[in-house]
Subunit: 364 residues, 2 copies
Amino acid sequence: MANPSILILPGDGIGAEVMVEVRKIIDWFGANRGLEFDVSEDLVGGAAYDKHGTPLHDDTMAKAQEVDAVLLGAVGGPKYDNLDFSVKPERGLLRLRKEMDLFANLRPAQCFDALADFSSLKKDVVAGLDIVIVRELTSGVYFGEPRGIFEEGNERVGINTQRYTESEIDRAARAAFELARKRNNKVCSMEKANVMESGILWREVVQKVHDEDYPDVELSHMYADNGAMQLVRAPKQFDVILTDNLFGDILSDCAAMLTGSLGMLPSASLGAPMANGRPKALYEPVHGSAPDIAGQGKANPIACILSFAMALRYSFDQGDEATRLEEAVEKVLADGARTADLMGPEGGVPLSTSEMGDAIVAAL
Amino acid sequence: MANPSILILPGDGIGAEVMVEVRKIIDWFGANRGLEFDVSEDLVGGAAYDKHGTPLHDDTMAKAQEVDAVLLGAVGGPKYDNLDFSVKPERGLLRLRKEMDLFANLRPAQCFDALADFSSLKKDVVAGLDIVIVRELTSGVYFGEPRGIFEEGNERVGINTQRYTESEIDRAARAAFELARKRNNKVCSMEKANVMESGILWREVVQKVHDEDYPDVELSHMYADNGAMQLVRAPKQFDVILTDNLFGDILSDCAAMLTGSLGMLPSASLGAPMANGRPKALYEPVHGSAPDIAGQGKANPIACILSFAMALRYSFDQGDEATRLEEAVEKVLADGARTADLMGPEGGVPLSTSEMGDAIVAAL
Ligand SMILES: CC(C)[C@H](C(=O)O)[C@@H](O)C(=O)O
Ligand SMILES: CC(C)[C@H](C(=O)O)[C@@H](O)C(=O)O
């Protein structure tokens, strides 16, 4: 049987250097655990624009549709800020999400014991935090039509459309309930049903999916503004949070920052099962392209490495190997290994990107 | 000359009991500072629905248009959760905002020294925090058409429309720049220009207003997801944050929770100047109707009292009297006066709503 295939899209900024470390990890699993992957690499974002004049070439899109998993670094940077909307680096990422139909974006916000002091929140509020945001990723205001800037009378108007069908809400809800069953069996769904009709439909469909097929999961509903408050006040009250594309963007970043270590947080974006039973999947760190430190060997590769751990779990059914990798990361942290972003006020000499990668390989 | 007029709309839940304390304060200013107001009172939200079958009676709307300032308590409660969207308590508040054209919602997030320990954030991250969010309040996805739940093929779709004209953005931006000039001269504008065309127009217009008329104010732009992160990570980097209706809803609640004491936070919603030069204005606490503690004399009246202080400042040009009131609040807190929501783990006997009101009157 052919090896499972992975397409690596380092993208922009620190994407390239963190991906080098991920390849070390992939190689280690091939050499030591008999998990060989066919790895190919291509361009996305500003890097693709520079070469092809588009943030995602059609050939790359086609490849992404064929592989078993895509690993993406990050897109964007000041160099591309003034590009036309249609060719901005972000459009490459959004096209991947949309055309691969990756409707379930899983964003864990987990606070590592060794790093609890890094949070701007009090230690007891975040120590042991382990929640996952399930963000709908292919619809809502990110993709709804009509959209654009139009003339109206003697001025312009900017328009975007928030739009959710029942089936779009249904499948996102199922992803959240399935995940909750493997965790602490609790889902909190967030919208603004008090001011938005799309939120009313969202709440209704989530409740219906629950009542019909997941009555064993504890379900609650919360307005998204209160959700932001509760995340800051007492995040450990949550297990799985289910929300739409735009609220998910804001709330998951808020949740990520609670942990104090953005350089640690992975994400998985999953779609429907392919012919081989594996879901369409793209894995990426939550952090961005960090142009200010790109190319300096300062970036923390852990978020990207943990994204590969999510790939092992969700794409390749290798939960034990994923845990092995996650434990290796915890071990190096417990041993005091720190990249620059994880240095406390006590100071010390930070590890470089590649030293951190090597430390994790050694811990494996 | 006639006294300035105030319409009090206590609304639902704890709205009524906190408003009783505000009336004590209003009376004090009449008796002791020669500031007499013509005060009337009416219904809004669920209370109005119970009596009139609508969350805002046309007569009340007409009164609100005539007075110099509206003071609102809070709307909503579980009793009204299953009402039809069009008569939900929130619609009453939204109608006031829309028909009075209150486009600039000022939401200070201020951390009181005496209460810095209440925040879930580390003390050094929030002590001395003093930022204001200027939220556009009459447009965006809250009001854009088309909206509703529609049949499409064999399923339903929920639709809302995010919509901003140049002039709507322009006037919100001016409110933020004007406010910044009276503070630390810094505005950070937040949107999602990387994924939404309405965000692109927002950014462009804000920049233009700045360059043409407020070049002295320091302006930056930030994506709203990053904004949520930065609020959690290092909120003191901000002075005035300018954002749209929906992002403002989420981000201002997130900012409010940083302070740890929601029961302390006022807000002002301002429109265009009336014939007498005063702006159309509505003042309300940031907290909600807190149905769980309503009617028990446990609610903290300070947010509502500080909303009246904002009325003194923005509607009645009595900045010194506003400061007098704010200092009285700070004094009672420094002296250890605490309602139940402000009790630390050390415990003690909390003040009731009316005891807190009396303490503030005494401090005046
Ligand atoms: C880069 C950007 C398009 C993206 C988004 O808004 O979804 C990012 O913020 C994210 O959360 O993955
Ligand atoms: C009550 C509700 C309609 C309102 C809003 O969403 O604007 C509230 O959350 C607020 O922030 O004032």
